[in-house]
Amino acid sequence: MGITLPILILCLPLFMFLLLGIGGVKMSRKVAGILGILGMGTTMTLAYIVAFTYFFSGNPEFIIDGVRQQYQVFDVTWLAFTPKLVVNLGFLLDPISAMMLVVITTISFMVHLYSWGYMEHEGGFQRYYAFLSLFSFSMLGLVVATNIFQMYIFWELVGVSSFLLIGFFYRLPSAVSASKKAFIVTRFADLGFLLGILTLSYFTDTFNFVSMTSNPMNVLAETGGATFMGCSVLTWAMVLIFTGGMGKSAMLPLHIWLPDAMEGPTPVSALIHAATMVVAGVYLVARMFPVYCVVEASMTFICCVGAITAFYAAVVACTQVDIKRVLAFSTISQIAFMMVSLGVARDYMIPGEHYSGLGYMAGMFHLFTHAMFKALLFLGAGALIHAVHSNDYTKMGGLRKYMPITHWTFLIGCLAIAGIYPFSGFFSKDEMLAAMFARHWFWGAWMTMVAGLTAFYMFRLYYLIFWWEENPEYEHHKPHDAPWQMSLPLIILAAVSCVSGFIPFGELVTWNGAPYHIHIEAPVAATSLTVAVLAILLATVMYRKKNPLPEKFRNALPGLWTAAYHRFYWDEIYLFITHNIIFNGICKAIAWFDRHVIDATMDGFAKVTQKVSYSIRGMQSGNVQAYVLWYFFGALALAIITLICII
């Protein structure tokens, strides 16, 4: 493959960013919007061409004997730390990066189109499109990274784009603090990522993914059995790298930024905080998968973090009133699902399992389907907010009559995420659960429970928005469906969510490139379907029409409900640590110490000098007679000393 298309895929969004960022002030909104959409559309077309060439051309660069290869389109030196440790910038094509190219450009294009309607009346339209382009560029750079350091570079860049977009409405203090929080929390996680890279690269002497993952046992051998605090160094490195992923993918306990990130414009939430950037952590684990498999402990760690997060987020999602927050927690929960799925996968055969890499394939599959239906749900939520001018479901209710397109597409999204046949979520979730059950019944059972909760809270949301009881305010301000720019992406994504489950994903994306034939595991599918249907029925009973049942449930478990409503007080804990301990405790103490101890010491030297000078300056009176007297006594003293010495 020539390097023109890949370079264009990266450079076009960057160019659009610079063009709209620098020249945007001089452009009209229309020109900026069309330029942004055209740019992204072109990028999407190019990405499709590249991805399809990769998957279907049968070119020996990409596939040998049915096994898909990792292919570095180009890899140029960017910075050489040492002769061996060199940072390259390149373009790696393999199953997951090709898949991500499709996901990112598709969602990004949908969001570009949608924003044209959604952001129509907002200020800073040009800036908005510039930031979207910057994000697309960074995210594309992240997924095609040939080495872990390139990934880190773009990892930081997506962090900044996310900061800029969350804080897009920068006049609102809440948006400013949300963007700050998102950046600092992920930055803290990135510190772990950086330390992980430092540790890992110290042993491997390379950043390159291909050379690390093609021979992971070598990586282990290179560490030479070094340990630190009881764990092998490689475990530390991999867990630290995963910390970066935990930050970006909002895993417990670094999840706190994601719900707040909903302060950004809704299309941004759909693009960044649902479909693409937040799955970077999953992508990172998938990228380093063979190395993770070498250290069993890190895989267990990933499973545990994922399982706890999935459950936690699902419980919290059941109690939130802000529809975007519900979706945010749902995103956290679903990403955690993918994490567990990756965590149970192995790159070697496990006795009794027909295919131990299934979890990997299923996780990637779910990443793909989730991106589509979660973007759909968010864009749907955007349409609702656009119509009702509130994020709060208590201001909604009974909207199905007023907004049919939004209603149907939202329902499709809900069915997909709940895992109902034949929507896409069913297939990917079924594969994931099958992989988990195969590893250990506990993971399977636990995650089935989470899947049930997912179905419950999504349909709770659905009923509360579209059924329940009509908001009387509709009399004055009748809600209606969004303009075509916004409806079209909804319809497209809904269609994708309906059919994408039938993509033979196992043929395309597996950890080693060898195809895997998907077949639905009947017992697992039956269980998960049953659980989902039961959960939906429960939600129907409770929320279809206004009734006192939810109130009763709430009163039955007041402690749990309040705790879940307050997200189990994580924000308060963080606020206490950052504000009271770090800011007021450490920072203020250090600043005080600097002014009153160190600076005071330096001033003290000056003061002492000054005091001493003042005290002896009386001698310099200008009175010659006094000088003579002093001189006389001095001479006398000298004479006496001399005499004593002589004698």
């Binding site: 200008g622 009175n623 010659v624 007679q625 006094a626 003579v628 007297l629 006389f632």
Partner: protein, 103 residues
């Protein structure tokens, strides 16, 4: 009575001490000048005495004394000129009052 060195030195020292005392304590510039002359003259006396007793054959001490007397005369003339000028400017020959440059 044998006039040894001590007989000459004691008056010289007394004279010098008087000079020092006067120089330090008197506030009148003329008086200070007189005290200064006393000290100078005691030093001259010492030159002459030491020359006479220690190196009777040579005359350097004597010559130096003459020199010093001549210079002292010149110096006194200048000093008195300055004092007169100060008196004209300040209206007093008190050293404590001629402190305009200090401020």
């Amino acid at each position: 009575m044998d006039l040894n060195l001590l007989w000459y030195l004691v008056p010289s020292v007394v004279m010098f001490a008087c000079g020092v005392y006067g120089f330090v304590t008197r506030k009148n510039m003329i008086a200070i000048l007189i005290s200064l002359e006393l000290m100078l003259n005691s030093a001259d006396l010492n030159f002459a005495i030491f020359n006479r007793f220690l190196f009777p054959g040579s005359m350097e001490g004597m010559v130096f004394t003459l020199f010093a007397i001549a210079i002292a005369a010149a110096e006194t003339a200048i000093a008195i000129a300055i004092i007169i000028n100060i008196y004209r400017a300040v209206g007093s020959t008190n050293v404590l009052e001629s402190n305009k440059m200090k401020h």
